[in-house]
């Protein structure tokens, strides 16, 4: 019995144990991941151009002997830490409010969050230039007019400014990682605190935050590494102010405008990233180990999250949410619309409004290439999340539940792709497909290669989500089922999958959205047969057609709206079913 639902006896004639199959599947995935990581290591020693055949330490020498590298790492550390702080400052309260309170209209938050992730980073950064650039920024112009400043007092092109923009963007990803934790949390613990007279802030601090700490730490680690390798905001806002971060420095060094790319330098720097990631993973595992006993919040006893009643405070909460959406989503979206309508990006003026036209939309909608790209992207959006969520669920189950010796190594392997800049991961994948798989599996230049690489890279995100969610489901539910004679496969399908349905839907949607907007890997893997929509948008941008890029991005976002609406309707229903008493 669970939540009033009887688990029926298995109808299969042969009672196969799923455990060995799950371990075998995980083993294959880990092997592929390890092979690709070895490919990355090889790249770091391979003389440019890739495929040259000889190995050298030049990449390491050029990266680590340059004193500027260390200044760049300092910038990167500051930028990344501030980004995580901004992202969590927004995401954690937002996730709690949405999942644990009776906030009116909260399902809208999901839609807006999902919509936000589709916006290309370079266009958001460009939008912020028009808001807070010291000379042409709207906000600075207002302040100069009001207070007579000679130059705008706000400069978005500083490390805190960049972290602010990046953090607002990554708050959406943090939200998706943190929200399931609060959704699955047992409200009775908070209720007990309330009965004992604890005030709301104290309850949050003493009960809610510690219970969700593993998930928050996992999210922080994930966001930290994303921030370390973030490219678009540092490239647009940072370089414009001579601030280099890890990604822009490597980009400039490894993609010399007039030379062949230095993949060895990218690989060498990736090694440093892997080292940092291993350190962070080690810390993460320490928390994970302790969490098995301390952090399970869903047990067999009355899984009924009770919502906190906000009362009249909902207005203040909506003000906070509104401010976030205004800064992170609505303003950039409006700017995107504005930029798509003018012939070239320009500060607001009456003259610019008189130049409005739909020319960029007309060009994009009439494009044969865009239609082909939309089809390919549609395929990616369906296949990648489906395969990725399935594999990640299995991997997380092995790590958290199987008690297989050394299972944590599976998690390390699943996490490491996140530590490797995706561009070098894609280069390694292209290299393996081109040189080693060409006769066995001719994947090079096909949509299948894109699917495989995206899936492998997003496993790190999905396993973070599943790990956090699985940690919060106490083993006693499965143990009870096993005592009743159910085998592993049946336990997973009858107990874990329904309980994890919200997390599964969330992760599926987010990986779909990430697959939809993925650009860095696509730029290395796309050939004539597998072009994607972000590549078309990027094509406009790299060709200096910002307004064309904005129009293409907006049409792309519009294509995804039906999926987001479906999620809004269906995802909430899944949640309602899964948490029903």
């Amino acid at each position: 019995m669970m939540n009033g639902t009887t688990i029926s006896q298995p109808r299969w004639p042969i009672r196969l144990d799923a455990r060995p199959f799950l371990i075998a599947i995980s083993g294959v995935v880990v092997l592929i991941l390890t092979a690709l990581l070895l490919g990355v290591i090889l790249m770091s020693f391979r003389a440019p151009p890739a495929g040259g055949g000889h190995y050298t330490l030049n990449g390491y020498r050029d990266v680590f002997q340059d004193p500027f590298t260390y200044k760049v790492f300092l910038n990167t550390a500051l930028f990344s830490i501030m980004t995580v702080a901004v992202a969590l400052f927004v995401a954690v309260p937002l996730a709690w409010v949405v999942e644990r309170t009776d906030l009116p209209g909260k399902s809208l938050v999901y839609v807006l969050m999902s919509l936000g992730v589709l916006m290309p980073g370079f266009l958001t950064a460009m939008g912020w230039t028009f808001i807070a650039h010291p000379r042409i920024g709207l906000l600075n112009t207002l302040l100069m007019d009001l207070f007579g400043f000679e130059r705008g007092p706000i400069n978005i092109g500083t490390i805190p400014g960049m972290a602010f923009v990046q953090g607002l963007g990554l708050a959406a990803v943090s939200f998706i990682l943190v929200a399931p934790l609060y959704r699955a949390m047992d409200g009775s613990l908070e209720e007990a605190g309330a009965v004992h007279g604890m005030r709301i802030v104290r309850r949050l601090w003493s009960i809610t935050v510690p219970l969700t700490l593993p998930g928050i730490v996992a999210a922080s680690i994930y966001i930290l590494i994303l921030a370390m390798s973030a490219f678009e905001v540092p490239a647009f806002l940072g370089l414009a102010n001579k601030i280099f971060t890890f990604s822009t420095y490597i980009y400039i060094q490894a993609n010399p405008h007039e030379e062949l790319p230095r993949y060895d330098m990218m690989g060498a720097t990736s090694m440093l990233m892997i080292f940092v990631a291993l350190l962070l993973t080690w810390g993460y595992f320490r928390i994970l180990k302790a969490s098995h006993h301390r952090y399970a919040v869903v047990t067999g006893r009355g899984y009924r999250p009770k919502l906190f009643e906000l009362g009249s405070r909902w207005l203040w909460v909506w003000c906070f949410i509104g401010l976030y959406f205004l800064l992170a989503k609505i303003l950039p979206l409006l700017l995107l619309v504005y930029i798509s309508l003018v012939p070239y990006p320009q500060p607001f003026s009456l003259a610019s409004f008189s130049e409005f036209s739909l020319e960029h939309y007309r060009l994009f909608l009439g494009s044969k290439l865009a239609r082909q790209a939309a089809l390919n992207t549609g395929l990616l959006v369906v296949v990648v999340p489906t395969v990725c969520v399935t594999i990640s669920f299995i991997l997380s189950w092995i790590v958290i539940r199987s008690r297989v010796a050394g299972s944590y190594l599976f998690d390390v392997a699943a996490f490491l792709p996140h530590a490797v800049p995706s561009i070098i991961f894609a280069v390694a994948a292209a290299y393996v497909a081109l040189f080693y798989l060409k006769d066995l599996l001719p994947l090079y230049g096909t949509i299948v290669l894109l699917m495989a690489v995206y899936t492998l890279v997003y496993i790190s995100l999905a396993t973070r989500g599943f790990n956090g969610a699985l940690l919060q489901i106490h083993r006693e539910l499965e143990e009870a089922a096993q005592v009743s004679g159910l085998r592993t496969g049946r336990v997973i399908l009858s107990i874990l999958v329904p309980l994890l349905a919200p997390a599964i839907v969330n992760l599926w949607l987010w990986i779909a959205l990430l697959s939809f907007r993925e650009l860095t890997m696509a730029s290395m893997l796309v050939k004539s047969g597998n072009v994607t929509l972000p590549m078309v948008v990027w094509g406009y941008w790299s060709g200096g057609q910002m307004s064309g890029a904005a129009a293409a991005a907006l049409v792309s976002i519009a294509l995804m709206v039906p999926l987001i609406i479906l999620y809004w309707l269906f995802g909430r229903r899944v949640q309602a079913v899964s948490v029903a008493p």
């Binding site: 030379e259 070239y344 060409k438």
Partner: protein, 367 residues
């Protein structure tokens, strides 16, 4: 054993006469073939029926440029070639991809490779490109644009210089020399590209420029710079985010593009930094549709095809009479600017020195 050796020698002497006769026949027929080769190229292209173009999108004037050229191309040769355009990564990564694909024994991802000077030198060294007898197929092309025995052909002229916002910084139009850029009143409004291949090549080739002078300039210039942007991001000058950009990789295509969008953008060429460089098209030896690729390049460089190409891409060669580039170079020359031409052929021997100079300048920019 000995007799057999003598026998072989005798045999070779015995066949020498007929062989020479045969050779002369083949040579004669080759000449005849040369006269008909364009037609043969068209026939071969007809069999291929398609062309894949993967490059930075501005190379071909985006999809609409490819479409316009495809229509004109098919009309000219009576073909029904399907052209597939794919926006690709930058020239360096494309060059590396083609090199890798060839080493792996695969077809290249593009039929025509568009590359910069340093890329082509690397590709030529790796024997990646096909030697095409361009002038035999397209006599009007002229010999000057074809380099390295037809492995590469110039498709547009890049003119070094500066770009500025004509509305917000009209004074920049008065810049005559590099030192004029060091005026402190322009501190905080100027941007540069973060790479310095162009200046490095200029140091090696332009009379009067030397490394010390260039380094001194960059040290002072760097202290006035607001930040870095890429070549091709001239919209950021027009928007007012920056007001001046130097050294721009190609001021002419930016100015022409700006005119078409009514952007407030002007250009200048400092007389002590007057250099022109070229971008090259080439056909990889592993191109999937090599005949169509050659025919397409030849057409795009013909007067008729180049009009269509230039209209959409804003790229033009000063060696084509009546082109924007030829008008601009002539006008600048009349004003006393003496351009140094940086061709791959002349630059090949100084490549390592150029890379060293580039590194030194880029080190200054990083400070």
């Amino acid at each position: 054993m000995r007799s057999s050796i003598y026998g072989n020698r005798y045999a070779s002497v015995r066949w020498a006469g007929p062989f020479l006769v045969l050779l002369s026949i083949v040579a004669t027929s080759e000449t005849a073939k040369g006269q008909n080769s364009l037609q043969e190229l068209v026939s071969a292209s007809k069999k291929e029926g398609r062309l894949v173009l993967m490059s930075g999108p501005s190379t071909w004037g985006f999809e609409r440029g490819v479409k316009a050229l495809e229509q004109a191309f098919n009309q000219k040769f009576g073909l029904t070639t399907q052209v597939r355009f794919v926006p690709g990564p930058d020239m360096g990564r494309m060059a590396a991809s083609v090199l890798d694909e060839q080493r792996a024994g695969q077809k290249s991802s593009t039929d025509i490779l568009a590359s910069g000077l340093d890329h082509v030198l690397r590709l030529i060294k790796a024997e990646t490109l096909e030697s095409v007898p361009w002038n035999k197929y397209f006599p009007e092309l002229g010999g000057e644009r074809v380099e390295f025995g037809g492995q590469i052909v110039q498709f547009y002229t890049q003119i070094y210089g500066g770009l500025y916002n004509t509305k917000m910084l009209p004074d920049a139009g008065k810049i005559r020399r590099m030192d004029d850029l060091l005026n402190p009143k322009w501190k905080g409004v100027m941007a540069a590209p973060p790479y310095a291949g162009g200046p490095a090549r200029a140091v090696v080739a332009v009379p009067g420029l030397d490394l010390e002078r260039m380094k001194n300039f960059y040290r002072r210039y760097n202290s006035l710079l607001a930040g870095f942007i890429r070549c091709g991001e001239e919209e950021r000058i027009a928007s007012g985010e920056f007001l001046l950009f130097f050294p721009a990789c190609d001021i002419l295509s930016s100015i022409v593009e700006a005119k078409s969008k009514r952007m407030p953008l002007g250009g200048f060429v400092p007389e002590d930094f007057a250099a022109i460089e070229y971008k090259y098209w080439s056909v990889p030896r592993n191109a999937p549709n090599p005949s169509t690729a050659k025919l397409w390049v030849g057409f795009a460089l013909s007067r008729e095809g180049n009009r269509v190409y230039e209209q959409h891409s804003h790229n033009s060669s000063h060696l084509i009479e009546g082109s924007e580039a030829s008008r601009y170079v002539n006008e600048m020359t009349r004003k006393g600017i003496r351009f140094t031409s940086l061709r791959a052929t002349e630059q090949q021997h100084g490549l390592e020195a150029i890379l060293q100079v580039r590194k030194e300048i880029e080190d200054i920019l990083k400070r």
